[in-house]
Symmetry: C2
């Protein structure tokens, strides 16, 4: 069922090449939604909510009330709530390790230079909704924002037809410390958060969404910051003959159930393993729901690369730059230094992707489509910004003034040179 | 000459509101350039270089040769070169303090979690050119990239009509460790770097440019990462009666000489200071070149806010979120904790903006137009990316498996639950 691709080959080059986010037709429709929400405000926002989500939302029920959030606690399975709380704690602990202090370094002549690292003030978190519920996405966005110190974390999630929000998402929001929850989704929600329609505008929008949400994030980029542009999910598994075929097969299927566009890639020097994995896929497929989605994903976007050795496996993986990279080899850590392009690396037999998706602590919002070459997992830095500090002493200024004047004049900026010269001449200062 | 704005007021609200990067007409022209370079390759790239820069560039002279770079050393003023080298060293030292190690934390049950922090592989630096020369921009982009460990730093800068590149830019590139220099500018250069036209595609594009460059960066965002979208330069000065009017005036003028769209703002509780500054502006203007540009900038975009006290001055400054913020008060550090929104903060009488523009070490590529609320100065993080590491032990996996299965099932993802369950059942693992 899964395509075999030899390496190196033209077919491999085509499969491994960068994906792109172009979809001009969708972009035009999204631009219209964004422009309408910006110009016509909540009237347009609520119209789109009715049209796309089928829900009646207005000023009175737009923001989810505290009472509704409290009520959600009685609707969720207590075991799931307990698991969510433990996940929340793991995510908090992992992200706290990323915190860095501001620093200012005083130098002997009295000069002080430094870098202030401070939280953003107001962040909007997008959480997909509708029929499905993604409490894990709530935690993965909101907990790092709170660890970073963001005082105002806002969440937008599309309502069901009856206007309701999934109770798991609401309890996750409460546990993570989300400050405001709004009933809205799609491109219209992104526009509302960016331009301050129905709520105070945010400084940054994070979180996964469909192609409409993603292209809306691109369009408002610059008015606000965004985390990344994300496409369909992917897993690449590097495995040798020591790997358990049933594990690799299960991991393929867990990726494939997301979406027919999800990509599942096995890179192995062992043809025997590849065959055993394919047999296991057939066996496990038979007893799982979502079979059609998984089969189509595997057929359309799956691939198996038989490579010379693990060295070449790392090369293929780096070229693909996968969102999720599993290493199921005898000594997985031996490859870690070579695996330079990946969102998250899962090492060994007991680290299947769901461990990271839900629980271990590292973030599950990860770069896709080869963008791990430049994007990072959501992290504490995502929710902070820096400010440089420059306090020159008179001694340092006197020493450096002529260099600064020379450089300003070389760039033809005389008033810049003057701003230095006036301080050299002036005796009052 | 400079408008007085009272605070709070509707006029102040209008002046302080977020700027936006919308320019639909320019965006359409830029989209055409980007699409043409992408589809027609170097033929389109060289046509645009001829049309916009007036220069004949082709495959044979597109990349600047080592000989040309070496020759530039004989064309520059040795004093300026020496100053550039000292600036380079300061920038390197400041950015080295930002380096962070990767970390992996082993836990008692054998689990290892961590975060790898590694350089991008290939970065494109845009440096404005044409008539002007900006060696300082070369240093401010390329040095942090090299400190971050980027092995391939590429520079694009538009040639003069005769095809030449300013020698100061070339020596700065060499000093900073730039690996490849290309003769190209504008939206076409951004497209060429993003899509790999005439050179290998880069992973990220940084550096300042005009509105064409900026909108092209927005359009290729997602195919590559970018540093930020930057608009006209700004300075906001918080000063009290202890400030020297000649300094404030000189700093206003050094900002205003950049561009008629540059913004210069004084926020002070002292009406006497404001008057003295205005008188000084007139006096210094008389002897500086670029007088027309400065006058228009001050008239169109300058502002003086007379506020109650320094507390209110900080409030105005945070709302403006200036690129450059100067604090010329008796005890400038006393305000630092309150000034939460700024690209760079210059404290005291001997820290005029040119100290940071050229020499001190902190970066001069800074967020503008209120984007200091979410963007940071260019820094080492700009040129690195992160990868999460998850290696669960069997003990940890056995402990957490039921929680993970519960969470996967609550999200309706049975194949995710299966990927965990199959490892619990399987005795071989």
């Amino acid at each position: 069922m899964v395509r075999r691709i030899s390496y190196p080959s033209a077919e491999a080059d085509a499969y491994l090449q960068k994906k792109s986010f172009d979809d001009v037709q969708v972009a035009e429709r999204v631009a219209e939604v964004v422009a309408n929400v910006r110009s016509r405000g909540t009237a347009a926002l609520f119209e789109y909510t009715k049209r796309f989500d089928g829900a009646d939302v207005n000023e009175s029920n737009f923001r989810v009330s505290e009472a509704e959030i409290e009520a959600a606690y009685s609707q969720v399975d207590p075991d799931v709530l307990a698991a969510l709380r433990r996940a929340c704690e793991n995510i908090r602990r992992f992200h706290e390790k990323q915190l860095r202090p501001s620093w200012i370094e005083p130098e002997a002549d009295g000069t002080m230079l430094g870098q202030l690292i401070r939280p953003l003030e107001r962040v909007g978190v997008y959480v997909p909704g509708g029929l499905a519920s993604y409490p894990s996405s709530v935690l993965m966005n909101a907990v790092p924002a709170k660890v970073a110190g963001v005082p105002q974390v806002v969440m937008a999630t599309p309502p069901g037809k009856d206007g309701s929000i999934n109770p798991y998402s609401l309890v996750a929001a409460k546990e993570a410390g989300v400050d405001e929850v709004y009933r809205m989704g799609g491109a219209q929600a992104v526009a509302a958060m960016a331009f301050g329609v129905g709520l105070k505008a945010v400084d940054k929008i994070t979180g996964p969404g469909n192609i409409y949400v993603t292209l809306a994030k691109k369009q408002v980029y610059g008015t606000v910051d965004i985390d990344m542009l994300a496409g369909p999910s992917e897993v690449l598994v590097i495995a040798d003959e020591s790997a358990t075929p049933a594990y690799v097969a299960a991991d393929f299927l867990s990726q494939a159930e997301h979406d027919v566009r999800a990509a599942t890639v096995l890179v192995t020097p062992s043809a025997a393993l590849a065959e055993a994995v394919e047999a296991e896929i057939e066996r496990q497929l038979a007893v799982l729901p979502r079979r059609e989605i998984m089969e189509q994903a595997l057929r359309d976007n799956g691939a198996i690369f038989i490579v010379q050795d693990l060295e070449e496996a790392c090369e293929v993986s780096n070229r693909f730059a996968p969102e999720h990279l599993e290493v199921l080899t005898e000594t997985p850590f031996a490859l870690l230094g070579k695996l330079t392009q990946a969102g998250a690396i899962f090492l060994g037999p007991y680290s299947p992707e769901p461990v990271g998706d839900y629980f271990a602590g590292p973030n599950h919002v990860l770069p896709t489509g080869g963008t791990a070459r430049f994007y990072s997992p959501l992290n504490v830095d995502t929710f902070q910004k820096k400010t440089s500090v420059i306090a020159y002493s008179k001694a340092r200024f006197d020493r450096d003034a002529r260099d600064i004047i020379a450089l300003a004049k070389a760039e033809g900026l005389d008033a810049h040179a003057n701003a230095v010269a006036v301080r050299l001449e002036n005796k009052e200062g």
